[in-house]
Subunit: 136 residues, 2 copies
């Protein structure tokens, strides 16, 4: 299997496969005499593992740790669970942050008449942050 086929089979672009190899996520691929990388089903499996972890929002750093645990048959599932739950906490923090931004924006937008007139509480807030204008 060459890199294009492995890419289609794994859902990881050829570009990223080379990148993951370079960065040490997957072992250096064997080459044909012409220098083409060759892959086996097993390699595609590892690539899909990476892909899936990315889809779940794990960083490459976390994925490196997950790959290490995956390959280690004597791993403790507690280690994996800890990693997953730590990531859940990160997600929670980011979700909360974005929800706060969203709430502020919606609130500001609700108070903006949104017509052709120039006065706009959204811009007022952006301009005057730190010294709130005392809405309500």
């Amino acid at each position: 299997m060459n890199i294009g086929e492995a890419a289609r089979a794994s859902g990881v672009s050829a570009k990223m496969i080379r990148h993951y190899e370079e960065a040490g996520f997957i072992p250096k691929a064997r080459r044909t005499p012409a220098g083409y990388r060759t892959y086996r089903e097993e390699d595609v499996h590892a690539l899909r593992f990476i892909r899936r972890a990315r889809d779940l929002g794990f960083s490459l750093k976390e994925i490196k740790a997950l790959l290490g645990l995956w390959e280690n048959r004597r791993r403790a599932s507690g280690d994996v669970k800890r990693l997953a739950l730590r990531h859940v906490e990160e997600l929670d923090a980011r979700i909360a942050e974005m929800q706060a931004m969203r709430a502020t924006l919606v609130h500001l937008a609700e108070h903006c008449h949104g017509d052709d007139r120039p006065d706009c509480p959204i811009l007022d807030d952006l301009a005057g942050a730190g010294r709130p204008q005392g809405c309500h």
Copy 2:
């Protein structure tokens, strides 16, 4: 006011002030004979505007548009509101995405005993995506 004072007053790092100047978000600062940038209260105001917009998750591209509207006294508040609500939609999309990731991870973690044994449904899922293991 030199760049360090402006940075402290605005909450924008000196590095970023130079960057925003370079990128055209703020006009080129005047210089002392020695080449030091000087700022006035008005400039700090603009920097705070940028800072506040960043805190609300606007991209620099969106901020450029907001600054344009801010400076334009004949703007229509509808334009600002549109921009804000579009950003709310972006936030909603990203929040939904992260909540989906979170839900999947929590679900997987719930099924992982998380002790010293090696078998782990989290790793199984990562390894076997596309061919679900039929939990439930």
